[in-house]
């Protein structure tokens, strides 16, 4: 966890944002992220992000659920306590389909949501730096990471020319930390120790 320097450009229209993303990438700047108030389709492709494999994880959680249900019920009804129900077979597969199905769905859903929260580092009390308060309202906030060589003034002018309504230079923590929102925004690692 370390603080980095970022140049922030805010757009208010997807139609302006997409060409701007293309320009920024062609110019070779390092796109940190784009914060949007809703899922803008195609933006992930424009940014060159790879497809998420969350759904593959969901599939594996699902089959885990199926096998859990099937193996548990089989063990219980054929080995642990074989119950004679009207002389029907102990291994009564058709009757177990509903429960196997329900557990498949349950495991897949719970597993995927937990994985989603883990991947996106989402949890109660987690705090992240917000580059612009209106990123969850009506602005598309493009954040570009600066290196030592980046001329920030040039970059800000470049963003303005690409259609950014406002640009900003921020030194911020890129990672998450735990804290409260009303305290100062300095993550605990970077707080100066006050010696008594």
């Amino acid at each position: 966890m370390a603080k980095k320097k970022f140049v922030v450009g805010c757009f208010d229209d997807e139609a302006v944002l997409f060409p701007a993303v293309k320009k920024v990438r062609t110019a070779g700047y390092k796109l940190h992220d784009i914060y949007t108030p809703f899922a803008v389709h195609g933006l992930d492709h424009a940014m060159g992000l790879r497809e998420t494999s969350l759904h593959t994880a969901g599939f594996f959680y699902g089959i885990t659920g199926t096998t859990t249900a099937l193996s548990c019920i089989t063990w219980i009804f054929t080995k642990d306590w074989p119950l004679n129900i009207g002389g029907k077979p102990h291994f009564a597969l058709p009757a177990w389909i509903p429960i196997c199905f329900e557990l498949t769905v349950l495991f897949a859903a719970v597993g995927m949501v937990l994985t989603f929260c883990y991947l996106c580092q989402l949890a109660p009390f987690v705090k992240k730096h917000h580059f612009h308060a209106r990123a969850t309202d009506d602005l598309f906030v493009m954040v570009i990471e600066c290196t030592d060589k980046t001329n920030t003034d040039d970059l800000r002018a470049f963003l303005s020319n690409s259609g950014a309504l406002e640009t900003d230079l921020q030194i911020a923590e890129a990672d998450w930390w735990v804290g409260s929102y009303d305290k100062d925004e300095v993550p605990f690692e970077n707080k100066k120790e006050i010696a008594a």
Partner: protein, 479 residues
Amino acid sequence: MHLKYESQLREPLVNGNKDYHQVTEDILRPIEAKPTKLWYLGFYIAVCLLMFGVYSVYREVTYGIGQWNLNKTIGWGWDITNFVWWVGIGHAGTLISAVLLLFRQGWRTGVNRAAEAMTIFAVMCAGQFPIFHMGRVWMAFFVMPYPNSRGPLWVNFNSPLLWDVFAISTYFSVSLLFWYSGLIPDFATIRDRAKTKLRQKLYGTAAFGWTGSTKHWQRHESLSLVLAGLSTPLVLSVHTIVSFDFATSVIPGWHTTIFPPYFVAGAIFSGFAMVQSLLLIVRKVFDLEDYITLGHIEAMNKVIVLTGSVVGIAYLTELFMGWYSQNKYEGYTFWYSRAYLFSPYGWSYWGMMACNVISPQIFWFRKMRRNLYVTFFMSIIVNIGMWFERFVIIVTSLYRDYLPSSWSVYYSPTTWEIGFYLGTFGLFFTCFFLFSKYFPVIAVAEIKYVLKITGDNYKEQMSPVEVLPTEEFAHEYAH
């Protein structure tokens, strides 16, 4: 730049010349304002009902099931009727959010949040009935399969009643996850606009530190889509399994193979009716007529007339089979206990027919589908009708069984039986009032997503696209 193209002929789903910021303002206004007197009044009434329900349940738990008028043949009375009724209502939310998402129905975005909330509260209410019907409710955990010191004595995995335990609890959990994952971005919007520290803190905690990163949105979309894909068979399975509670028995009137589709159609029917009742009030009180438009209401009324007719066909099929099977018991149940108006419970069958089959046919007329008063009235009628349906199925099949000596006396509920039912209304509306005040009743982020495709002001600008040659259109919009 939108990848989805919508014809200009379609009605706009967002009226009133909105932009992104205006959408946020409009939908979050009730959360950021003080609750109105009307809200307090409604909340107070709901809590009173809930308290009455708690007292009724207290009596039932303390003195036993004898507090209800169940008797030797009617072992399931109002309690299971209410259970099935609430579970049915709980079907619309997931249907709207999942099935309509897969079918790419744009209008679902206006109503999905409130419908999902309604689903969750309805399933909570439904769950109370089988739990307290157990009598010794402190042993309710016996339904969970776990290694125990009673043998180990396992539950019966071949029993539809146990399938129900799994179905309802899975349905509740998955609906809750689906609902909450959709709420996270909207909580973040409230957090970032918060004027008070408390609000910032509470919504900040609820928002899980959401920033709106493109990668997170990409995962969020994937999650929503897969959860929708999982919920679609789930929502169909839940009422199918509820119908198995009846269909796998050998009671005349229950032992039929058409129960699963018939119950699912009925569930969607009553669920949409409840969504109509709630949303007609919500859109008026919170000034959301631009987001929940007449188009939305008409679309839901179309679903009501479709599912109502499916249910009607099922009733007629049952009557036909009652005659065609030439089974005396089936014939007696369908043609005497149910369809004969002057039999002890004939009134409930014809009440059901009038409410569920005959009256919804009014929605074949466009003028009626778009009339708010008719819609509201019909939504109440449909819910009464669907309650009757479950009452008819349970009571008319049970009150006279194979042995005439045990034919029961006329069953009517006690005060505490009715009190329990009223109490679940209290629970439902207490939750719904809290939801409508503290949660965004419309999915803000999703409305913004469809705004530039379906907003009235953007639709006007869309005309050049309509005249593009096919090649050019494909080039522009194909991904």
